[in-house]
């Protein structure tokens, strides 16, 4: 075949492809018909009903970066304790404006080792954005205007350990740095023991005529407490393991030390005796330090979500009661509007205040983002018992809810349960081992993951959309005579979030918004407080570059200059969190 023919064939196939793409909405593709709201034939194929190892995730990042080079930048922002890369995706339209000149939105996940779906939920957002750019106007606008910084896994060592080592649903929470948790001078000498070798740490029980548990008549897999005044047939012996160091305690000094990346941040940090899990000082862990460096270098981040599990919550700060004083009315209006939208978009999730509705957290990530970086931030606690049957669970009705047993039995066909099996224990003798696997209770069952990921993404996109978006909406001049002119510029913030949160304003975390006139000789410059009544405040130094302290959500700021001559006038607007813009005066 000649080169010409080859080229023609290629050209024709391109046309065919684009026709297919156009027909995707309303007509069937060869194999697919579009479901509303989802890409019909995404270029990067991902199954959203399973979890990915660090390697699996990297493979997807690389595919995304290769497929959408104009939208995706992949970088490692640091290394974990064990030397794994911390991969971050910068998702934006990279061709219209540098990402750091756009309002930024931070998303992270898997700071806690066992909260693995946080990575997939974060990744879903990245994937959805790139697969829908061009085909969806809202997504296109979003990536033209905003920059998304997405770190699906902040704690890759923990993720790897959770997946590959025997663990429970609750462990590990930290990274893999070994510590002497029981203080006996020996590090990590009495961890879990996967006695039955199934990769899950489940429960140990022993038959005992004086035990206080018996089998649940509705589901024999489950033990329930007997009534007061009765004996049952079983006793519970805790998580799988034995007393390796014969100190009278089981599993009290695990191979992986107990510490908490989410107690390691710079705002209101307190030591471990006050705030369990704190390490030596703020950012004393390599993973949080890498995030700190990135966030400090990207002050355009004006909103953020950090994904956790579990409980179905959108938590705003503060984590500590005394810090309420920094959340003023303007901040709360924003949080309330966002949080209430979240409750609507994700049924069963609640908008809550961290210290009041959950518990006190000193040195948490979210508070550092809001209080030291000026970014409106939620902690999202993914998954909740509500999602099992879309019912509010009865309050502590039967100990550890039987919903989980019913759900496992009838929807997962007992895939989430290790059946009780006999085992001869070196210290307890004849026992049985069994119970829920580590991938149940806190982590979404496969079929539920995509829906929640999408809903949570919708919440984050709503939040990201409302980061400050500035526009020079008006630029006008008035001839004052004698070659002097009065130039007035109106800046509009078309979104809910102000350029400066209350604490940002009070402590000047960011410089003010600068509105600079370029070109003419400036005789005076002023902020217009009330245009109708001509109340202005003159800026005596550097009148060319006016400093506007804050531009609130859904509001305007007006500035004015008196200039000499009126040729080639331009206005530059530079707001750390609201973006960089310019406009040339046209008469």
């Amino acid at each position: 075949m000649s080169d010409f023919k080859l080229a023609l064939l290629f050209f024709l196939s391109l046309i065919a492809l684009s026709v297919n793409a156009q027909q995707a909405d309303g007509h069937a593709l060869e194999e697919f018909f579009k479901a509303s709201g989802s890409p019909v034939n995404p270029k990067v194929q991902i199954s959203w009903n399973r979890y990915h190892t660090n390697e699996g995730l990297l493979d997807i990042y690389l595919k995304m970066a290769k497929t959408y080079p104009e939208l995706v930048r992949l970088e490692s922002i640091g290394k974990s304790h064990e030397g794994r890369d911390l991969w971050l995706l910068t998702i934006t339209n990279h061709s219209n404006k540098p990402h750091h000149e756009k309002p930024g939105f931070w998303i992270d996940g898997n700071i806690h080792a066992n909260e693995i779906q946080a990575a997939e939920v974060s990744l879903y957002t990245a994937w959805y954005l790139v697969e829908n750019y061009h085909s969806n106007d809202f997504i296109t606008q979003l990536l033209d205007e905003k920059a998304f910084y997405i770190l699906p896994v902040m704690n890759p060592d923990g993720r790897e350990n959770y997946m590959n080592k025997p663990n429970t649903a609750n462990a590990p929470r930290s990274g893999t740095m070994p510590l002497d948790d029981d203080g006996d001078g020996v590090v990590g000498e009495d961890g879990f023991d996967d006695l039955n070798g199934d990769g899950h740490i489940t429960q140990m029980r022993r038959q005992n005529p004086f035990g206080l548990y018996r089998e649940d008549p509705d589901d024999a897999r489950r033990l329930i407490r007997v009534k007061q005044g009765e004996f049952g047939e079983w006793e519970l012996l805790g998580y799988e393991g034995y007393d390796r160091d014969v100190d009278g305690r089981i599993n009290e000094d695990r191979d992986v030390g107990y510490y908490d990346h989410n107690r390691d941040w710079g705002w209101n940090w307190q030591p471990d005796y006050v705030q369990r899990g704190a390490y030596h000082y703020p950012f004393s862990l390599p993973e949080t330090r890498a995030v700190r460096d990135f966030v400090l270098a990207h002050p355009n981040i004006s909103g953020a979500l950090t994904h956790h599990n579990t409980g179905g919550m959108f938590l705003r700060g503060p984590g500590v009661e005394q810090d309420q004083e920094y959340y003023l009315r303007d901040d709360l209006r924003v949080y309330d509007a966002l949080g209430q939208m979240g409750e609507k978009l994700v049924p069963g999730y609640n908008y809550l205040v961290s210290y009041k509705d959950l518990y006190t957290v000193y040195g948490g990530q979210r508070d550092w983002f809001h209080l030291m970086r000026g970014a409106y931030t939620f902690t999202v606690e993914l998954f909740s018992r509500y999602l099992l049957f879309h019912e509010k669970p009865l309050r502590r009705s039967r100990g550890f809810s039987d919903d989980y047993y019913t759900f496992d039995k009838h929807l997962l066909f007992e895939d989430a349960f290790v059946p009780w099996e006999e085992y001869f224990h070196p210290q307890f003798g004849k026992i049985q081992i069994g119970g829920f696997k580590k991938n149940y209770i806190r982590v979404h069952p496969g079929f539920m993951l995509e829906q929640d990921a999408h809903r949570i993404m919708a919440f984050s996109l709503y939040h990201a959309y409302h980061t400050p978006q500035l526009e020079i909406t008006e630029l006008k001049s008035k001839d004052l005579g004698g070659g002097q002119f009065e130039v007035t510029a109106v800046i509009t913030n078309t979104r809910m979030i102000p350029t400066h949160s209350s604490i940002n304003l009070e402590y000047h975390i960011d410089p003010p918004n600068y509105v600079e006139i370029i070109g003419p000789k400036v005789l005076a410059g002023m902020i217009v407080i009330d245009e109708d009544l001509n109340i202005v405040e003159e800026q005596l130094t550097n009148p060319e570059k006016l400093e506007v302290e804050n531009i609130s959500g859904m509001s305007i700021a007006t500035v004015r200059w008196i200039i000499d001559g009126k040729e080639n006038i331009g206005v530059l607007l530079n707001s750390v969190k609201g973006g960089k813009y310019s406009k040339v005066f046209e008469d």
């Binding site: 203080g183 710079g266 030591p271 030596h280 703020p282 950012f283 004393s284």
Partner: protein
Amino acid sequence: MQSQVVYPVQYIFIALFLLQINFSTAAIRTTNQNNNEQDYQDHNQLSQRLANLSKNHPSLANLQSLTKTDGSKDIWLLTIGKGDIANKPALAVVGGVEGDHLLGSELAVQFAEKLLNDPAFESERDLLNEISFYIFPDMSPDAREQYFMPIRYERRGNARPTNLDRDGKVGEDPYDDLNGDGLITMMRIKDPTGKWMRHPDDERIMVRARPEKGEKGNYLLFTEGLDQDKDGQFNEDGEEGVFFNRNFTFNYPVFTTGTGAHAVSEKESRAIADFLFQAKNVFAVITFGPANNLTKPLTYNDKDANTKIFTGWKEHDIKINQQLSNLYKTHVGKQAPKAEPGQAGDFFQWAYFHYGRFSFSTQGWSLPETENDESDTPASQELNLIRWAEDHDVSDIFVPWQSIDHPDFPGKEVEVGGIAPFVMKNPPYTMVDSIALKHASFILEMAALRPKIDLVNIETEKLGTNLHRITAEVMNTGSFPTASQSGEVIRWVQKTVLRINLNESQNLVSGKPVEVLGAIRGHSALKRSWLIRGKGSLNIRVGSEASGFREVQISL
């Protein structure tokens, strides 16, 4: 045709001005270099002295650089000790926590020099068999170096470019040496709106006028410099970065001048914290800095000591503080500097509250209090200093007021002068040797009070065939407790561990194989017993890095 560059008049003025500074600087530098023996020494000179110590005492002293600051200066750690240093008690000695406290670094270095070289400490050197010293002589080398720079001013911040006044611009309004003497002092401007006046007892000194006493201010008073960014403030954002002694986690002052982006944000603060956290053998920290809990011990406050986040010393720790304060006064005597509380975010308090060790601090020297002056104007520190200097033949502490033309105050009477930088906090160098000697002997006597673990009254009782009861007392034969009470709640303080190791034929019928013990006070003991079936040998081991380890073999 050649293009011609036109300089605005004011630029030429500034250029000339800078030239003038350079000339006068050169003069001062020469003087300093000639008087090395008579004056404080810069980073290179201190480094050389430390290097000499480790070179001359290779078996006792080891010098390492923990990190380099943003100003490329080493953060030195000099370890003095021998043998298995990590497993026996150690004292940390820290100097230079404030860059304007030259004396602190000198005291730390001289402590090492005297311990290793001074014949007077010959017998104290035996102590090194049992205890080691971690000496961090200069924690603010970037700031401290300002004493030796062309423009000398009291600087606390490191070399990190910082926006000190939080206006979004970095270092845009530094000091300016207006009178070209190489020193940053004050400037006074005659102005009817001024709130300052000359001191009635000494016209060189400026005091705040008290309108309620009928006094009238007639001077504005600022530090020496130009308002380079024209924001109405003088020298509010110079070259200084983060202050070491404001960068720690206890009571950290967020969003305050010099405190950094967050606690422990700086290379030097991280370096010392990282080293100390892994050094489990440190039982106490002594800091040469602005705080002083040795001239007067801290007082106990039940509420502060027992709130969830405790901010006051625990009761028994206060008793140790009292004991150490008494000891301090026997060494330093009447010249003991003034008692001063710690400051928010400082190193001294961090060492107690977050590092969990006994923490003592002294300035080493402070301006002695003098009698009240005759007038009813408050006796200012400046006045004290001038009088003290006169009594002790100390010169060069005051720069006479000198008229200058100041571009920010055209047509006004502006004078530059006042107390020279550094002299308020640092004695003349000639006094340092005797201060250092007293402090060295204090530190060594304090070190001898270290916690020391022992096993005493070991008894083996035969209860029947192959059945024995072993009883032993774990005793702290030192004066310091095995841990401070703050250390009992701080997770990273290693507790004393008691362990009985049986052979394979033995088993423990009663008693704990491993026990993590609470702190054992000085000269006190705890009794434990074990019931053992079997025979042959076993051992009992007890201790912690900070109190030492003790092991005994027993044969059944």
